[in-house]
């Protein structure tokens, strides 16, 4: 279970991108549909709580957001 106070979400250009990022992140992450407030698309996103290291991103990674109140704040974009 991820700590909701420190949750981050990464979005991707493809489901496979999310799958590979999830594998690189390890156990501290889950794959879920992209939150509606971030996108009208219905792709996969990876939710995680550890610090985001940009070296974990690849060409399929679109952006990373951190929970900010009821919404999300962008902290990284390809």
């Amino acid at each position: 279970m991820l700590d909701p106070a420190d949750i981050k979400v990464a979005t991707f250009h493809s489901h496979y991108g999310a799958l590979m990022f999830h594998k690189r992140m390890g156990g501290d992450s889950v794959i879920r549909p992209v939150p509606r407030s971030l996108s009208s698309s219905c792709g996969s996103a990876v939710f995680f709580t550890s610090a985001f290291n940009p070296s974990l991103a690849d060409e399929n990674t679109e952006a990373v957001y951190v929970k900010d109140g009821d919404g999300w704040r962008e902290i990284w974009r390809k």
Binding site: H15, Y16, I31, R32, P33, R36, S40, S41, C42
Partner: protein
């Protein structure tokens, strides 16, 4: 994705299911309050793209869905012109999805509405749809992607919804330009205002909730998420209750409205629709919504569906109600599945080599 999202999806599903029953009572064909494939096919006929006299009518529901989704996406900041993600492949996949749908006699949305009316042939179709989505998910898990979409001009994004506006203006101002069926399913329709209003409501609700018939099952396979499937379930529940209340619920395989009991072809037709929908990133309804939000890739898929509808009737690929597909339709749906599998395998192999 939480309880609030599920609640909104359930409300959207209930609106669609109830609107479908009402449209049927107002004149649409049986279990066809909405059918994206059938209505695109009817519109293709109205535009002289095919010559099947029983399926020609420019369905206001389609125009309403596009305009509703376009308007709400513009107001809420979701309108984002984008494209360039394998447009020709998307056209071909859309074409094959339409062939599969017209062999089954309905898109995934009508499949659920048929289930709500008691048509058990749709249950066979649902099994094929699930199988197609399952195969598509295997490719997604192994790297399948049609590529990134890039930003496009506002003009490019607005071209598709603007065309829908133009179509509707011409339909009202110069009806003699269009063909109108005098018999058969194309002659059966709700009043224009009711059909347009229902389409607008569905377009708005489906845009806000991302409702997708294929996405619900795909998310269960891929990420064990049951949010999107709640809309699917709500459409079924609302149409079931509506049909029972209206006295139009009749359970069985035989003599169901605009259907056929050829199980193998119901299964394979919807398998093609399920696999193609996963490759496109959404069912035919979702493609309409995404095209209205400015995706020229999804607009290409819709145009592919329209071309597929024209071919289905010009080359006798579509099933006949009661008797199912002829030899042309059987060959086309098998060839379509082979083409989808080959395209998915080829794209997946290319993506894996890049990774």
């Amino acid at each position: 994705m939480g309880i609030r999202d599920k609640g909104k999806l359930c409300i959207t599903g209930a609106i669609i299911g109830a609107a479908a029953v009402v449209l049927t009572l107002l004149g649409n064909p049986g279990n066809m309050g909405f059918c994206i494939a059938c209505f695109i096919r009817d519109t293709a006929g109205a535009l002289h793209l095919h010559t099947a006299p029983i399926v020609e009518y420019a369905r206001p529901e389609i125009i309403g869905i596009i305009l509703g989704a376009f308007a709400i996406s513009a107001v809420r900041g979701d309108f984002r012109p984008r494209g360039g993600s394998s447009p020709v492949l998307r056209f071909i996949i859309g074409f094959i999805v339409m062939i599969g749908a017209l062999v089954f006699l309905g898109c995934p949305l009508r499949m659920v509405l048929r289930l709500g009316g008691g048509d058990l042939n749709a249950l066979v179709g649902l099994l094929g749809f699930i199988a197609g989505i399952g195969i598509g998910c295997i490719f997604l898990n192994n790297g399948f992607s049609l590529g990134k979409a890039g930003r496009q001009s506002g003009l490019e994004g607005a071209a598709f919804p603007s065309s829908a506006v133009l179509l509707f203006v011409l339909f009202l101002a110069f009806p003699s330009l269009f063909l109108f069926s005098e018999s058969g399913p194309g002659s059966m329709h709700a009043p224009v205002a009711a059909a347009l209003g229902a389409g607008l409501a569905v377009g708005v609700a489906a845009e806000r909730t991302r409702l997708c018939m294929a996405g619900g099952i795909r998310d269960i396979f891929l990420v064990r998420d049951f949010t999107l499937i709640s809309g699917f379930a709500a459409i079924f529940a609302a149409s079931l209750i509506g049909n029972i209340a209206a006295g139009s619920f009749r359970i069985g395989f035989a003599d169901q409205p605009i259907s056929h009991p050829m199980h193998l072809w119901n299964f394979l037709g919807m398998l093609a629709v399920g696999l193609g929908s996963v490759m496109l990133g959404g069912c035919p309804l979702r493609q309409l919504i995404l095209a209205a939000e400015g995706s020229s890739d999804s607009a290409m898929a819709v145009l592919g569906m329209m071309a597929g509808a024209a071919a289905a009737h010009n080359f006798s690929l579509a099933s006949s109600a009661g008797t199912g597909p002829g030899i042309n339709g059987k060959i086309a749906v098998v060839a379509g599945i082979i083409i989808l599998l080959a395209a998915a395998a080829g794209v997946t192999y290319r993506e894996r080599r890049k990774a």
